[in-house]
Symmetry: C2
Subunit: 115 residues, 2 copies
DNA sequence: TGGTTGGTTAAGCATATACTTTAGTATCGT
DNA sequence: ACGATACTAAAGTATATGCTTAACCAACCA
């Protein structure tokens, strides 16, 4: 993976970590400062900052610093992107099963009409 | 991450790699053998097998070997799991924005009624 | 029976991830 | 001005990831 990762790579990668999902779960309930986000987590502040950096580089989270406090908020557009990718695959798969089922049905019907 | 990863960890981690997403994209169009899956990819067979192992340990893909050929198929349930997690967060966020908007609206109304 | 096909195992290697501790640098309150 | 607060930067470390190549095994097929 020496070529630069796509937005989808970054988004799924960001969501693959339980700490980062916890951060997202917190942020959907409203914006929060870095130390506010770090408080319930049992790891160092720099560790939390690194997780936030991952979330931010994926586009899932944006943040702005005013004075000495950085306020983070989630960006739902990126969540949608990931959701859409999964949904499209699931739909494709469901559609296939549906067509397959219908096809097997026609086979049974033809069988019934036989002889 | 020395404690064992959750199903959600494994699923998002599996989807974070473009090669593995390509495998999923192929498999939603129907089951395939290992070498069939490897053929369009420009990497060694063992590399593809390792990606398949990741997909399988996440539950996104199941496979069975008959004779000397292993046939892989996707398991949509695991796709749903990931999709649901995202969807719930997105809903939560949307709901919050909605409530916030309504609240601001009431403030404006009260403001209008003032003095 | 012996070669080809389809898959598997093992080992090795470069880079990436998830932390840590230590040492900062700007605010902000008094 | 001075200390506390909120964050940041840098470096180090252990483990994980994404490959590779070189064997190897177990059908199948002539």
């Amino acid at each position: 993976m020496l070529n630069q990762p796509s937005p989808l790579d970054l988004t799924f990668q960001a969501l693959a970590d339980p700490t980062r999902r916890a951060l997202v779960e917190r942020l959907v309930r409203g914006p929060a400062s870095v130390s506010e986000l770090a408080q319930p987590l049992k790891m160092s502040l720099p560790a939390v900052m690194q997780h936030l950096a991952v979330l931010e580089s994926s586009g899932l989270v944006r943040s702005e610093k005013v004075g000495r406090v950085r306020t983070c908020r989630i960006d739902a557009a990126q969540l949608s992107l990931a959701e859409q990718w999964i949904n499209q695959r699931r739909m494709e798969w469901a559609g296939r099963l549906d067509r397959l089922g219908r096809y097997l049905e026609t086979l049974k019907d033809e069988d019934g009409e036989e002889s």
